[in-house]
Symmetry: C2
Subunit: 199 residues, 2 copies
DNA sequence: AAGGCTATCTATAAAGT
DNA sequence: TACTTTATAGATAGCCT
């Protein structure tokens, strides 16, 4: 009998692999193994699957059938139910007041105006990453898809608007404006206040 | 030597399993196998993963580390790049005008006020589906998480506001209002117009 | 439908090219 | 660096309870 040529596959401990090189190799093998399994599951059982993985180097890997975005939309549509979101939104604004909200929206609009002036730059970026998925989406989710886009845009604007609002708040304090912008501007930013108000 | 007790594992053809019963069993075994693999990959390589599966019966199964929503947010943040979304948003509004937008936002606010009056009903719904994920989210993505919620809420409000706007438009036409509400209200709804305007 | 068994198939850890 | 090989660990098809 020949001496064993290799040790073959060995059992490994289920903890984070210490050696960085080995970790990279294992990640590469295993994530592709998982994608293959997912692909088989799609074929064998005719199901829809999306997998999102952020590698050790923070790069995103994804698998999707028929399309990652489609699956995500379908998931979001049922899971964090819209009614839940809206009630949280209302709860938040019950504690604040509508005048403040008006103020913030006004700021968003002002910011919108400003953004329009630099819109050309954004147009270029848009050209670069032409969206690829819309036309693949089943008709019944197309509306949601679009709304998603709108929402992402609103979030971007909102962030910018908050910075703007911070500036305006300082100005406002010096002039006693008709629509005061209070500290709620900060509460609405990335802080934990809203998230903790939930239960 | 004993006669074989079973045939053991047999190779199967990579096609949709015809027998419905067998398919259900295979789905159950395989999806849990994939989740186990994913879990191991998390542990071994310290990566973040989300998996969404819609079963043959359309039920959603998900795996997420640290949390499905977190991963989805991170993915959406990079993939259909925000700049793409925002530029589409801007392109859309370049064709409309800011006055109209102002009008719509005003309607949203009006709707908000109305919603507050029926807020109790929404509170009940909120109780039913307590969100489970916020506090699990890593600090650096919490802000996005919240903003996601806000956005979903805005979208809900927007839909309602559009119906409201439709009514107001009719009123407005009879009184020559300071802020005219034009047909863009419809274009902004869930129809395909915006999505097709992309390229 | 859910869980267990066994024989076999598949994935993959380690080492080699 | 990445592909190939080897041998074993792990997943699972078919069957049964």
């Amino acid at each position: 009998m020949m001496p064993k040529l290799t040790k073959g596959r060995q059992k490994i401990e289920m903890k984070k692999i210490p050696d960085e090189r080995n970790l990279a190799v294992t990640f590469s093998k295993r994530y592709s193994g998982i994608f293959k399994k997912a692909s088989e599951l799609c074929t064998l059982c005719g199901v829809d699957i999306a997998i999102l993985i952020f590698s050790p180097t923070k790069k995103a890997f994804s698998f999707g059938h028929p399309c990652v975005e489609t699956i995500i939309d379908r998931y979001l549509a049922q899971h964090p139910p819209p009614s839940s979101s809206i009630s949280q939104f209302l709860e938040f604004h019950r504690n604040a007041n509508t005048q403040e909200l008006t103020g913030q929206l006004a700021n968003i609009l002002r910011q919108l105006e400003a953004e329009k002036k630099t819109g050309e730059e954004l147009d270029k970026m848009k050209k670069i990453n032409q969206d690829r998925c819309w036309w693949e989406a089943p008709i019944d989710t197309l509306g949601v898809e679009q709304l998603e886009q709108l929402k992402m845009a609103m979030l971007e604007l909102k962030k910018n608007a908050e910075k703007q609002a911070e500036r305006l708040k300082v100005e406002a304090a010096n002039r006693k404006p008709t629509i005061p912008i209070s500290d709620s501007t900060e509460a609405d930013a990335a802080g934990p206040s809203m998230s903790r108000d939930m239960d």
